[in-house]
């Protein structure tokens, strides 16, 4: 099996579980229906569903992790839209593959931040 497939098999399985979990909540199903009509910012969604921004961020986070929703930050506004579900699009799997790498690199960012922080502390100790 090729690495793309190997990885995507596991990823699809995990994503599917996450989707089921995401859909178990009525607000999140409502958000999906809303986004099916048009893209919206988190602020818009919070207002529409009479929720705090923090509460809506959490719901959107769950939907995003499941791949049902993608978000993009432009300036100060984070816009939410439905994730790539259109199978007619030949490139949908490439987008999924990109998401996988994106998740990986987000974690790599954290590891690198931590190593940089350690180096700074060690450097300071050496100078002292």
């Amino acid at each position: 099996m090729h690495p793309i497939l190997n990885l995507m098999v596991q990823y699809s399985r995990v994503r599917l579980d996450a989707s089921f979990a995401a859909l178990s909540d009525a607000t999140r199903r409502g958000v999906l229906e809303q986004l099916g009509r048009s893209d919206a910012s988190i602020t818009d969604l919070a207002e529409k569903f009479h929720m705090t921004l923090t509460g809506m961020k959490k719901h959107v986070g769950v939907l995003e992790q499941s791949g049902l929703v993608t978000t993009e930050k432009l300036g100060r506004v984070r816009t939410c839209k439905l994730g790539p579900r259109r199978l007619e699009e030949e490139t949908a799997w490439l987008e999924r593959y990109r998401q996988l790498w994106d998740a990986r690199f987000d974690e790599l960012d954290k590891v690198v931040e931590e190593l940089k922080r350690k180096e700074k502390v060690d450097g300071r100790k050496k100078r002292e």
């Binding site: 599917l16 859909l23 099916g36 990109r98």
Partner: protein
């Protein structure tokens, strides 16, 4: 100055791109906010590598991770919570140039697996990662893509069934 400090505290998320640059090749790029020396370290030390290669958000379970990062050295990653149902990735390192370049094979599919190359380009304290996956033929990459699309279709179908069961009409205007 304050603005600078703030941007250091919460760096902007960089974009990941994936592009099929030729019939046989996929290229993934991403800038990481750190010097190449550190990014290379995170890519070549198993205890660091496994912290990011398997993102928590993906919910995957990495059983073991062996990496002998030197030319001709082998690596083996085993995934899966259930010991009777595991997935393995393995191959060997073809090129190891500290802080700038790594090349490895992907042999879990037998012969004809792609060769992966990652380059680390440092600029202004940041590192641009460029990862190439070179397939032996157009057919091999097409097959990987078709397989991936097929798999997505299956999961979407299951999802659709669930949505119908829930009585929702998500994404169906």
């Amino acid at each position: 100055m304050d603005a600078k400090r703030e941007s250091e505290a919460a760096p902007m998320k960089n974009r990941t791109t994936v592009e099929r640059t030729s019939e046989r090749e996929l290229v993934v790029t991403r800038t990481i906010n750190g010097p190449a020396r550190i990014v290379f370290e995170a890519w070549t030390k198993p205890e660091l590598f496994k912290q990011w290669w398997v993102p928590k958000s993906m919910g995957m379970f990495l059983r073991s991770c062996e990496m002998d990062v030197r030319v001709g050295g082998r690596y083996r990653l085993v995934f899966g919570e259930d010991p009777s149902n595991t997935n393995e990735f393995f191959g060997r390192y073809v090129e190891v140039t500290p802080h700038s370049r790594l090349v490895w094979t992907n042999e879990e599919g037998g012969d004809g697996g792609p060769v992966s190359t990652v380059t680390f380009e440092e600029k202004g304290g940041k590192t641009l990662l460029v990862m190439h996956e070179l397939y032996p033929s157009k057919e091999a990459l097409d097959a990987a893509g078709t397989g991936a699309a097929e798999m997505m279709r299956e999961s979407f179908e299951q999802l659709d069934e669930l949505l119908v069961a829930l009585g929702a009409s998500v994404g169906r205007p």
